[in-house]
Amino acid sequence: MKLRLTLGAAAVLALGVPLAAHADVAGEVKQQCGSCHALDHDYAKAPTHERAERKAPPLDYAGNKFRREWLFSWLQNPVRLRPAGAFPPAHAKPSADGDVVDTATLAKHPVLDAAQAGKVADYLMTLTPFDTLIKAETYQPGTIAQRMGQMNFGKFKGCDGCHQDAPDKGGVSGPELYTAWQRLQPAFISAYIAQPAAWDPHTMMPVGDANTAAVHKLANYLKLIGEKQP
């Protein structure tokens, strides 16, 4: 009887520790990151122009989007992903040659140490409101020839109007995609290309008409170029 009680208490304790730690991290993230990043999906209910006021990309579905290893290393060394910031028009300044990105207005991202980055990455990976979108994905990573992939990405689908597929090559209003494969879950890549508005109704990315096979080819191209990155 006595033994059973002790065992029971130990079990409660063992469960209790990670739960409490988890709640701490949630609070910390809310405090340190919530001033810029959305951590819930309320923005989806606001009028579209809330997109213009965002200071950072939403993190409310981070666990359905990122690779944990990438989060862990990026949070310690946050290199720029969006050449023109979180809301590009806010960082555009007119010039004689047209609008240019005013890089002076792009702030550096906060840096975490390894211990914090590990805890935060673990916590962000628990934010998975869109499991159903991921489960519905049929994408199986495959191969594509560089030339064909590039034609799809550029000439046929016009993705290069807004995204770079190599450093300094391509549009700058979207996140660069030459490291997308290292950063994002393959199923997310495919699901987002197919239905960006299902993830974020105010996405600045057009909902295309690419069929499933074409979407998978585009994802394979991101795999091809991403695996060549250091």
């Binding site: 009028p47 590009p88 555009a92 007119p94 047209g98 609008d99 109007g161 549009g171 057009p206 909902v207």
Partner: protein, 115 residues
């Protein structure tokens, strides 16, 4: 009395038109300025890297040559639908019809209400 009523109706209509134009402007800022420029002149931050240049929406002559229906169509179905560049995306999956109408209204302001 009749004139009064007419005046009242007219001011109602213009108030509604103004509200629509305002939201057209906000939608334009979110979706269109990335390519067409913060001033609507076709020189957005993406333009320098693009093979086909975005239309200058302040070009009165070019823009006046298009009907509202034509503008609606190219916004909804993209450049490809009018045999123009795929670099002009189709926005029908992002925007509702009334939002596209608001954008058409804003394009008319941009092109043709210069002072």
């Amino acid at each position: 009395m009749k004139t009064l009523l007419l005046a009242a109706t007219l001011s109602l209509v213009s108030a509604a038109a103004l509200a629509a134009a305002d939201s057209g402007k906000q939608l334009y800022a979110v979706y269109c300025t990335q390519c067409h420029g913060v001033a609507g002149n076709g020189k957005g931050i993406n333009a320098a890297q693009m093979a086909v240049q975005p239309r200058d929406h302040t070009d009165t002559k070019e823009m006046s040559a298009r009907t509202d229906e034509e503008l609606f169509k190219v916004i909804q179905h993209g450049g490809k639908s009018i045999n123009k560049s795929v670099l002009m995306p189709a926005w029908g999956g992002n925007l509702k019809d009334d939002e596209i109408h608001a954008l058409v209204g804003y394009l008319r302001e941009l092109c043709c209400q210069k002072n």
